[in-house]
Symmetry: C2
Subunit: 109 residues, 2 copies
DNA sequence: TGACGTAATGTCATATGTGACATAACGTGA
DNA sequence: TCACGTTATGTCACATATGACATTACGTCA
């Protein structure tokens, strides 16, 4: 987590402690939150690696730039479905998604 | 896919060809559908392996038996979020979820 | 056959997610 | 400084997912 992001999420009422600190969430809840975070980060990585703007990705998704921004910010108002659609729209495979979710991988690049 | 399930999904307007046959879905759409199917199957596997009824799982999820049935049937009315919540409620870890999504694994047990 | 536990399916009021829009904030090159 | 492209944030009307409920279907034991 890139520091500053945590503050944003908390502001939105999520209370995310990276692993187990700050715990206010049950194990199930935090597993879900961590999963969504991992997927969101993967969207941003793939999109920027491909040199696309949020607006361009939005077009592919038939969504809007603001929603893409929210996807990448792991805003609680976005569903996991939408995050997955974004990943697939960026050419990710099921295996790519699995890797993004899997714990213990190198955190970036 | 266990044969008969396909018919149900199609009846609901999904048009699921297991891999690439029956294609009416774009690559992105079918990747999403396959992912959701894989997760649904994982819910059923884990639940029955633990000897729980749908009603019992529903209680843990603060949901209802009928919704659990729909989760396992991969009903289009259920979100991926709910499927993930079900998995985590069954004790799955992020890595378990990743494995369920990953392609090419042994199809059952 | 009936009775029982379980799973499937349909419906509905309400909760949550959605795209779209406006606007602000950021970065950066002139 | 301004201008431009991009990203962030807030809001809202509309769409979709939700739990709950009723009902049906299935399996199995007697």
């Amino acid at each position: 987590m890139k520091k500053g992001k945590r503050a944003r999420l908390e502001a939105h009422g999520w209370r995310v402690g990276n692993a187990a600190d700050f715990l206010e969430l049950s194990a199930e809840e935090s597993a879900l939150v961590e999963t969504k975070l991992a997927l969101s980060e993967s969207v941003r990585e793939r999109r920027s690696k491909q040199g696309l703007s949020q607006a361009e990705l939005a077009k592919r998704l038939k969504s809007s730039q603001s929603r893409v921004a929210k996807i990448e910010a792991a805003d609680p108002s976005v569903s996991t479905d939408l995050v997955l659609r974004a990943l697939f729209a960026l050419g990710a495979t099921r295996n790519d998604v699995a890797s993004a979710i899997r714990k213990g991988r190198p955190v970036a690049a």
